[in-house]
Symmetry: C2
Subunit: 136 residues, 2 copies
C-alpha cells in the first residue's frame, strides 16, 4: 500500500464536492467517520472519500440525510436485498411526486390569477381580489 494517501477535510471536500461544513454535519449524523491526527484534524481514506461522493450523489437526487444513512447501510451490506434499496427509492419518488403536484397546483392557480391581473398603473388587481375573497 504505497498510495495510502489520507486527506484533510479541505481536500476531502474539494474531491467529493461536499463542503467541509456539511462533512462535519454528516459526521454528527453518523453518515461518515474519520481518523484524527494527534492535533485533532480529521483524516479521510479512500473508502471514506468514496462514501462522501456517494452522499453527494444521493443528496443531488434529493434524498434526505436520514434516507442517505439507510442507503449507506444497504450499500455496505453485501447481503442486502435490492428490494430494500428500491423501496427507499420509491418512497423518495412518491415524496417528489407529491411535492411536484403541490407546486403545480399552486402554479396553476397563481398563473390564472396573474393572467387576470392587468399589470398596469391601475390599482385593481385580480390577485389581490382573490386573496381578500371571503370564500376560499
Amino acid at each position: 500500500m504505497s498510495t495510502s494517501s489520507l486527506l484533510t477535510i479541505g481536500q476531502a471536500s474539494a474531491q467529493s464536492g461536499v463542503s467541509a461544513k456539511m462533512i462535519r454535519h454528516y459526521e454528527e449524523l453518523g453518515l461518515v467517520t474519520s481518523a484524527r491526527t494527534a492535533a485533532g484534524y480529521r483524516l479521510y481514506n479512500s473508502q471514506q472519500l468514496q462514501q462522501l461522493a456517494f452522499i453527494r450523489k444521493a443528496r443531488d437526487l434529493g434524498f434526505s440525510s436520514h434516507r442517505i444513512k439507510e442507503l449507506l447501510l444497504l450499500w455496505q451490506n453485501p447481503a442486502r436485498p435490492s428490494r430494500e434499496v428500491k423501496q427507499l427509492a420509491n418512497q423518495h419518488l412518491a415524496e417528489i411526486s407529491a411535492k411536484i403536484d403541490q407546486l403545480q397546483q399552486m402554479q396553476l392557480l397563481l398563473q390564472q390569477l396573474a393572467d387576470a391581473c392587468d399589470g398596469n398603473d391601475a390599482p385593481h388587481c385580480a390577485i389581490l381580489a382573490a386573496l381578500q375573497q371571503d370564500k376560499q
Copy 2:
C-alpha cells in the same frame, strides 16, 4: 358600529385558519398587529381578521412571509399599480417553476435507476451502482 366584536388569538386562529403560533410569528415579522387587553391578551378586529385570512391564502399559494408582507403593503395602498402585484406574483411563479424543474429532473433520473433495479433478494442494484459511480 354595534358589531365591533374583538376576537382573542384562539378565536382569530379558528376563523382565519392560521395557528395561534403563526399569528404571533407573523406579528413578530410585522405582517399583523393587534390590540391588547390590560392583561396583555391579543385582540383582533375584523380588519385584522381579514388580514389574517389574506395571509393564509397567500401562504397557501406558497408565497414567503417576506413576499406576503409586500403583498399586504400593496393591498393596503389604494394607489398601488397592479403592475407591482403582478411582478411579485411572477417572481413567485418563476421560483415555483424552478423548483418544479429541479424536482422533475430528480424524478427522471431516479425513476430510471429504480426501473433498472430488480428489487428482489439479490444484492445487485442499479441505484447503488449509480451512487458509487466515479463519474457523475
